[in-house]
Symmetry: C2
Subunit: 348 residues, 2 copies
Amino acid sequence: MTEPTIHPVILCGGSGTRLWPRSRKAKPKPFLPLVGDRTLFEATLDRWLDEDNFAEAVIVAGEAHLPHIADQAGGDATVIVEPQAKNTAPAIGLAVALLPKDAIMLVCPSDHHIADSAAFTATARGAAKLAAEDWMVAFGIAPDRPETGYGYIRTGEPISGSSGGGNRVDRFVEKPDRATAERFLAEGGHAWNGGIFAFRAGAFMDELEAHRPAMAEAVRKAVAGGRYVGQEFHPAPEPFAGISGESVDYAVMENTERAAVVPADMGWSDIGNWEALRDARPGDDAGNRTSGEAELGECRNVLVETDGPRVSVIGLDDVIVVVDNGEVLVTSAAGAQLVGKLSGAANQ
Amino acid sequence: MTEPTIHPVILCGGSGTRLWPRSRKAKPKPFLPLVGDRTLFEATLDRWLDEDNFAEAVIVAGEAHLPHIADQAGGDATVIVEPQAKNTAPAIGLAVALLPKDAIMLVCPSDHHIADSAAFTATARGAAKLAAEDWMVAFGIAPDRPETGYGYIRTGEPISGSSGGGNRVDRFVEKPDRATAERFLAEGGHAWNGGIFAFRAGAFMDELEAHRPAMAEAVRKAVAGGRYVGQEFHPAPEPFAGISGESVDYAVMENTERAAVVPADMGWSDIGNWEALRDARPGDDAGNRTSGEAELGECRNVLVETDGPRVSVIGLDDVIVVVDNGEVLVTSAAGAQLVGKLSGAANQ
């Protein structure tokens, strides 16, 4: 069997407010070099650059992101411009309606970090084979801590007779409480839902029609009435405006009879907050990470990120200091999840 | 007995590097409004403004401080300009040599905070009476914690027959270790040496001649060869240059047979570092203190001081954040004593 050609579909959504003040409305998280020299978006594009069997990426993004995409993606990618933000199911629906029915899509957020590209590619190939057999495939990220910030996937029976490996999904679990997350980790058989999926376009549309017929119709009409401006595809706004926004998890994955999960152990992080960003970067012997001019004394596991002013830190453990364009954030690692609620982050 | 007229002598010394980055070489600690709206120097002058029996202050300062003194002291005070920084004994010696022999001097650092002015004044009056009887009088600050950053005074026998109250000094103790400081606090009979003294000018000069004759001679010659420029008195630099710098504690107080101590319970702080500064300011219900634009969430006993950029802090206890003119300092309260060793503070 030949390897199916994989069409990467990159979803540029989310505001990254928990990474304020570095991530701002005007230049949000995907377009920042948060880990290494490349932005998360550039690194997402890089991931399949040198691989066979990967087609040019299709990017789904809102109007506000277009200048950043033009800067960072070069000129070749097709960009589907969402008339409105409607969550992931309609965003994927637009790409589905635009691609050929037999296209195997690999849907990836634009703002995740994956340390092990080779593992990612291998997982993607397995997922693509399952998708070619009309499985709706989720990446199941190997969990390494009792994280309460992610949804979980309970792994079911192995899928026999597929060359793609993988398992049926027993069920999707909403973000658990701490005790439940600890149980999942101890029991095994649970993976994080990383928001990375593989589908055959036609199969996805069939599922959308079965479970969200109005959304399926609206998406098809928006694409049928859309137009290209260069490499930008602009769906018709009216049909899209009537859609009720919904995640692909709710609209499709939790309803389909053919949900599959492939195990993904690839150094994944959603860089969901400053603590996650700290952990995705290599530290020195004391676990400290600094970017910009910084002096640390008697510190452990401290992250300093400054765009100019010198930052001097003494005697702190597990603290994050960010200086960006006239804003100074100082938070405990545990407090990092609350950053989005600060006035500075919320009222941009 | 009439109350003696008290001549305040204000020593402007010390660099305040532990209060970096707010305190800088160009505008050091005494001349900053660190507690309340008045600078520490202004507050020092204010302390006897409305009191009877206080003469105009004599200020002893280095050349670099003159513009700040001119700004903040108004035009009336006499300023003795130290040709070089030689520590407190020679600085006091200059004032002693300039004042009449029977002047009762109250020597005060320019950069301490005293919350209870009435208690200060009452203590000063008692000390002045003892000084008029040729006692060399130290203020013994009532200790409220086992501080290892100050010298201590062990109180001796009560001085009988003086209307000034007070006790003989049993001995001066160098900065103790923690266990010793705890013992002092438990035992009682020990006070902090706050660097505030009362002397009769002639008595001080007699003691200096007895214990540091070269210093006494150099000081007298520097004053004899000095000249006034307006209200500024410039001692002759040559005799002063030969002096070995020494503190008044070492040169006089530890050697005299007539060392006395008066108890001083007056809300004193030397504002020696950011932790001390935090503690000298009133806090909110959670013990937080902010100056400038700040937002705190789930914080306790946090001090934020910013000259412009907004500072947002989450989930921290007992931490100090200072933003000043392009420098950002974040320190644990305990780490505050190390601030002077930071590159930013040390290499100004």
